[in-house]
């Protein structure tokens, strides 16, 4: 039990927790009222759309795929809502249609990946360009707004205690994602498909159906987040949500989810969300510009993979030198075979 605890603390999530506490402590000392509930809610409120998509992206990456089109789908849904209401469609119907567009976009991506068998990187890159293009078809270079009050209040007006609807939605989705990933049959399928699609297929898993559904989930959630973004901003442009994919993917990977699929937990992702939000906030308080904060995120993204890799390499080398264990087979062959001259 005690050993288990030590292992947990030494794990990625333990490291995230320590980092998070350190950042919060520094911020709390330098800014009075930092730990107040309202400040933490504000923090989440300003990023709630991204953070919602992070949950869906976690599932996609665990299943061994990637979805680069999320930000464009967010933009498309936001644009659709604005465009439809401008045309006199009721707000409720516009929301439903925008959500359906998300379902369709996901089905489209999923079709090419699951049925035709194309790499998701290429398919969703096409989606990133294409869906943004479709959004621009509707809105051109205008800026649309004029939403009803109840809609713009979704992201800001307190609904339950001090908590607005958008954060409430995130909390519900967080719990749902945790249950799906950690305690449901579908979640287990995601891990199986992510660690080895072939093994999954031979074990009778309907890989196609699983892949198709995660792309539909990812796009639908993105559309939902896009609608919330339109509500919070109050006005939509063709470039709404552009470039969000970097932040979103960073949050997922920093949470300990492997880009190669098959591993990662929602707890780590949740910690990484809090870590990044508090870090951005802290940097902002230190007068670091939003642009430079993005740079820090980029560095963090690289370091989150580089540091464990280097640590593993160093540990492997130390162990090999101490003779406590054999070097892994890969290194053995590398050392044993002299590099022959390579002919053209």
């Amino acid at each position: 039990m005690a050993r288990d605890l030590v292992r947990r603390l030494g794990s990625w999530e333990g490291l995230l927790l320590v980092l998070l506490l350190a950042i919060v402590a520094v911020n709390a000392v330098s800014v009075p009222g930092y730990l107040g509930v309202q400040n933490q809610i504000n923090l989440l409120q300003l990023n709630v759309e991204k953070v919602i998509v992070v949950l869906a992206m976690t599932m996609v990456i665990i299943a061994g795929e990637i979805d680069l089109s999320i930000a464009s789908v967010m933009g498309l849904a936001a644009v659709l809502v604005a465009w439809l209401t401008e045309r006199g469609v009721s707000m409720e119907l516009a929301i439903v249609i925008a959500l359906l567009a998300g379902v369709l976009a996901g089905a489209f991506n999923g079709f090419w990946v699951a049925v035709v068998g194309l790499p998701s990187l290429a398919v969703t890159l096409a989606g990133l360009i294409g869906f943004r293009g479709v959004a621009r078809l509707f809105i051109g270079d205008r800026s649309l707004g004029g939403f009803p009050d109840w809609f713009t209040g979704l992201g800001q007006h307190p609904l339950l205690g001090p908590i607005p609807f958008a954060i409430l939605a995130f909390s519900v989705l967080l719990v749902v994602a945790a249950i799906v990933l950690q305690a449901s049959g579908f979640g287990r399928l995601l891990y199986v498909v992510g660690s080895s699609p072939d093994v999954a297929r031979y074990s009778g898993v309907r890989v196609r159906r699983v892949k198709w559904s995660i792309f539909i989930i990812s796009s639908t959630v993105s559309a939902f987040a896009g609608i919330l973004l339109a509500a919070r901003l109050g006005a939509v442009r063709g470039s709404t949500a552009e470039g969000f994919e970097l932040d979103i993917i960073t949050m997922v990977l920093l949470g300990g989810v492997s880009i190669f699929g098959g591993s990662g937990r929602i707890l780590g992702v949740f910690l990484s969300i809090l870590l990044i939000l508090n870090l951005r906030n802290g940097l902002g308080l230190l007068n670091v510009s939003g642009n430079a904060q993005t740079g820090v995120l980029g560095a963090l993204l690289i370091l989150s993979v580089l540091v464990p890799n280097v640590a593993r390499g160093v540990r492997g080398r130390l162990q090999a030198r101490g003779g406590r264990s054999l070097p892994p087979p890969g290194r053995l062959t590398e050392g044993a075979e002299p590099s022959p001259p390579v002919g053209g």
């Binding site: 096409a126 989606g127 993917i249 980029g298 590099s339």
Partner: protein
């Protein structure tokens, strides 16, 4: 069909198909857009393709090794901005030095990517998504959001895009286009005949096998990134020449166009197959569409991106579906040829026997 497949490799079909599509598009645009087949159109498209083509050549090397470099747009912006600023301060610098500096800065930035991917074992998409942000941020911070403007740049640089080296009919061949053609040919030859070029294919087809075979996989991947960075630096210089006015957002989103060109040009995104010629044709096709669709009467300029997305998808899908079938056919044709030869050898051997 079988006779044809015995002669031509399936990959060549794709390049032929691209040429046919490009010619058809030119004919189509020519019939719809007044004054399309003019020297001006050619100049506009060739200068724009030149930049993308140089980037596509570098990207192809990286993609061949089963990696990707998403940071090239930021490298182009950074190089264009810094070299531009440098030139506005001292107009008398030798052009050769300027070009060498562009390539040098680009190669240094590419080396960072290469280090991270080859020895840091950071997956390429993560490493270069990170440096995409970092390089851009560095540019924005270091520049203080100032802009390089044409009026402070030296004359030779401003004249460069207007100089016509020689003309074919109405069409002026510009220095930028010549640079691109030289780069494409040189790197295509390198890919085909140098051991390093052949190893890129081996690494992309099966990295594990390449390593076991004793290839210096890490070093080769690093060199691919280094060269790609150098080419991106060159493209940054070309970008400066082409536009003159450089803001901190210069080159933003270029990586998408380049990856699109490479993919449309038939370079397998999972590594191991592709050619510089294909990547170049992909660049031409994409640029032709981008520059021309907006000139079609009655078409919104915003159709462009939607169309481009669809084009990438179709290119990748056709690669998978049609080319897969062609490859199978070609393999069968080759086997048939082999059997026929064996057969005739056998009978020939009997006839001439003692």
């Amino acid at each position: 069909m079988t006779a044809l497949l015995q002669r031509i490799r399936p990959e060549r079909f794709r390049e032929l198909a691209l040429v046919v599509i490009i010619l058809a598009l030119i004919a189509f645009f020519g019939s719809q857009i007044p004054d399309f087949a003019s020297g001006l159109t050619f100049t506009r498209i060739s200068t724009s393709v030149a930049v993308i083509a140089v980037l596509a050549v570098g990207q192809t090397m990286v993609v061949l090794t089963r990696n990707i470099d998403l940071s090239v747009g930021s490298i182009v912006g950074l190089v264009a901005y810094f070299v531009g600023t440098f030139l506005t301060r001292d107009q008398g610098i030798n052009p050769i030095v300027v070009i060498a500096m562009s390539i040098g800065i680009g190669a240094a930035l590419g080396a960072v990517n290469g280090l991270l991917v080859a020895w840091g074992r950071v997956p390429a998409i993560i490493a270069t998504l990170g440096t995409l942000a970092i390089y851009r941020v560095f540019l924005v911070e270091a520049s203080g959001s100032r802009t390089v403007t044409t009026d402070k740049l030296p004359d030779w640089l401003l004249q460069l895009p207007r100089v016509s080296l020689f003309s074919v009919g109405d069409f002026d061949i510009l220095p930028l286009a010549v640079v691109a053609v030289v780069v494409i040919i040189a790197f295509q030859l390198m890919l085909r005949y140098l051991p390093f070029g052949r190893r890129l294919f081996a690494i992309g087809s099966n990295p594990e096998a390449a390593r076991v075979a004793g290839f210096p996989v890490q070093r080769d991947v690093f060199v691919a990134y280094l060269l790609n960075g150098g080419l991106a630096g060159l493209a940054g210089f070309m970008f400066l020449v082409r536009f003159g006015n450089i803001t901190v957002t210069a080159g933003q989103g270029l990586e998408l166009q380049v990856v699109a060109a490479v993919v449309v040009g038939g370079v397998n995104i999972f590594g191991g197959s592709g050619s510089m010629i294909g990547a170049f044709l992909g660049a031409v096709l994409i640029d032709l569409l981008q520059q021309s669709i907006i000139r079609l009467p009655g078409i919104s300029e915003f159709v462009r991106d939607a169309f481009l997305g669809l084009l990438i998808l179709l290119a990748v899908a056709s690669d998978k579906v049609i080319l897969g079938r062609l490859r199978a056919l070609a393999a069968r044709a080759r086997r048939q040829q082999e059997e026929e030869r064996l057969h005739s050898d056998a009978t020939g051997g009997l006839g001439s026997g003692p």
